[in-house]
């Protein structure tokens, strides 16, 4: 019986990966949920918005690296992040001006806006591929590990290793900062309050003199910041590939809906619910149980509830259960 090793295995293979994946999903879901709350449609172009912001940030990172500028142990991409955010904000404001405003003025039904956003998604898909290509791009530099598996084994004398990548730590810290800033902005500034008013009741907000175009523009800027940050963090943790970002859309939407569309707190919770359930329900608990049980009690099987290919089935099962029994999501967002 060796509870310490059991705990380390659990942390290494379940807890640490799920927390960082959850933080990435949460940031993405926040963007989706903001657009849903204020502009009232599901933005399918969000994954590609993330890809665009990341692509610009990567190019800027390469530029900085060529100039010999780095960020010490932290990845250079964090220095380049503001440039990516500005470029993405310009792209989103431009898209809004050219595409979405037309439909907003006509008070188009949300379902039409969803289809429109799909068109925007394909265009952005193309733009990103034109800018940076279809291949895999690695742009992480700086220290790779905060705690490396081997280092931990030597330090603790335990059989099992624990690895925490710097990108995972940065992801969680950055996500926490971004969320804190967002909540402070929404709750304590005049603009933030006007955005919430606009989200709660558009007509009343208009009557009380809130400028809708301004609210919309600020929403897009915040969404650009969130999407670019989420995309860059994800790319630092894994690597950048346009196709993967497009695929990220599914778990992000699952997270936003589970948490409650339009509710920022829900988006964060949803991100972690999806990440933890994906990892925990498909994890083979054999090693943990081997350590935790007295010798000789060890089971033969892998103790895997379901095989990993059902990972996405897990997300969607949760999604359906939530939609059936609590259509507004865990945190009382708007029903879909």
């Amino acid at each position: 019986m060796d509870l310490l090793n059991a705990l380390v295995v659990f942390l290494n293979f379940v807890f640490v990966p799920a927390v960082s994946y959850g933080a990435q999903l949460a940031l993405g879901a926040l963007g989706v949920t903001l657009i849903y709350g204020i502009l009232r449609f599901s933005n399918f172009a969000h994954g590609d918005t993330m890809a665009f912001g990341t692509a610009i940030t990567i190019l800027c990172t390469f530029g900085l690296q060529a100039l010999g500028i780095t960020f010490g142990p932290l990845p250079t991409a964090l220095l380049a992040l503001p440039v990516g955010i500005v470029a993405t904000a310009l792209l989103l404001l431009g898209t809004d001006r050219v595409v979405y405003r037309f439909y907003r003025e006509r008070k188009a039904a949300p379902v039409i806006l969803v289809i429109v956003s799909m068109g925007v998604m394909f265009v952005m898909n193309g733009i990103v591929r034109f800018i940076i290509g279809v291949g895999d791009v690695t742009f992480a530099d700086g220290a790779r590990f905060l705690v490396s598996a081997r280092g931990f084994q030597e330090w603790s004398g335990l059989e099992e290793g624990l690895a925490i990548r710097s990108s995972q730590a940065i992801t969680v810290v950055t996500a926490a900062i971004a969320v804190a800033l967002l909540f402070w902005f929404l709750n304590h500034t005049r603009t933030g309050k006007s955005m919430r008013a606009f989200s709660d009741n558009e007509d009343l907000a208009l009557l009380s003199g809130i400028n809708p175009e301004r609210v919309v523009a600020i929403t897009w800027i915040i969404v650009a910041a969130l999407a670019t940050t989420a995309g860059v963090l994800y790319g630092l943790d894994k690597s950048f590939k346009a196709f993967t970002y497009f695929q990220l859309l599914l778990p992000i939407f699952a997270a936003a809906i589970v948490g409650g569309l339009g509710n920022p707190l829900g988006a964060i919770a949803g991100g972690f619910v999806i990440a933890f359930s994906e990892v925990m329900l498909t994890y083979a608990w054999r090693k943990v149980v081997l350590y935790a049980l007295p010798e000789g009690w060890a089971p033969d099987g892998l103790l895997q509830l379901m095989s990993t290919e059902y990972k996405f089935a897990v997300s969607f099962a949760i999604l359906i259960i939530v939609l059936l029994f609590r259509p507004t999501g865990l945190f009382r967002g708007q029903s879909v």
């Binding site: 990966p17 279809v134 895999d136 993967t244 095989s307």
Partner: protein, 394 residues
Amino acid sequence: MKRLLLAVGATALLAGAAAAQDAAPKIGIILGFTGPLESITPFMAQAAEVAIAEVNAAGGILGQQVVSERADSTCIDAAAATAAAEGLVEGGINAIMGADCSGVTNAILTNVAVPNGIGMISPSATSPGLSTVEDNGLFFRTAPSDARQGVVMSEILMDRGITEVALTYTNNDYGKGLADSFQAAFTEMGGTVTLAAPHEDGKADYSAEVAALAATGSEVLVVAGYTDQGGRGIIQNALDTGAFDTFVLPDGMIGQDIVDALGAGLENSFGQYPGTDSQGAAMWQEIAAAQGFDGTSAFAPESYDAAALIMLAMAKAGSTDSAAWTAQVMDLANAPGEQIFPGELAKALELIAAGQDIDYEGATAVELIGPGESAGNYREVEFKDGEIVTVRFR
């Protein structure tokens, strides 16, 4: 009026028929320009177009310049691939160079090629299932079936004294086919596969897959995936968490990009991919370098060979009709005859015109067996100091 219309229609038909006979030989290049393989397909298409340009520079075939048209197979969407191939057929192609992934290749073969009687040569579909598919003799591939690779991989493991592995494969026809054939061969040789877990490509996170594989307690992980997809994500994650440090990499997983990305992480790993030490491979590298692209890119040489075989077969058959040229492919690809290497297509055409036998070797030492697929020579490789080092040929 009615008569006039009929007359006009008949004339148009006749003109159309005449035009069809005079039309230039046309090859449809159908590969996944979007989707999971979008990073290697541009080079594959370019390789095929290099072969076409070479033939055209030598005066073309049947007295005409060969033309080609690209279409997108998407690699994953059978319906889209079928529609794209039908578009090509309407455009009047005489042959298909493609498709890339095994799943869409099967879809195009059964839905488009066989019903329309169009011959096709795939450079990269390696699923064992395609060996037994009903093809009316129209389908060939310049890539070997993975049934062979499964045996080669098992032999390599046994030679290294490894009898227990965990296995993960990309969840498509390629990954599943390779995993099945490997499992069968490895078990037969007395090995044990502790867990065979599929993974999806292009997904956000692979922690769950690695966690499950690590729980088996195996020391060695076989990763049947793609270099820039889930396969790489899994290796990266396994290295980071310290779950595995020895990986066995089949063809889809070997490329300079993965060595560059993972570096020292692959020091203990090994693998195999189709390849020969034939002089054709080196000659192909030179041609590709002169055209400004990387000839080692996966399946680029196979693509050159596929396109070259199609055109030589048409020349030998003296016809662009699929039934006629597909009957010549096996003959051209195999001995006896004068060996033909990349860059020598002009010579091959001359020999064919003179009625002499040729043995097309090409960039990949083409040797077609059984149902028209490459016999399969493999290179056993290790990864030392950021280089792919060939240990031996099998």
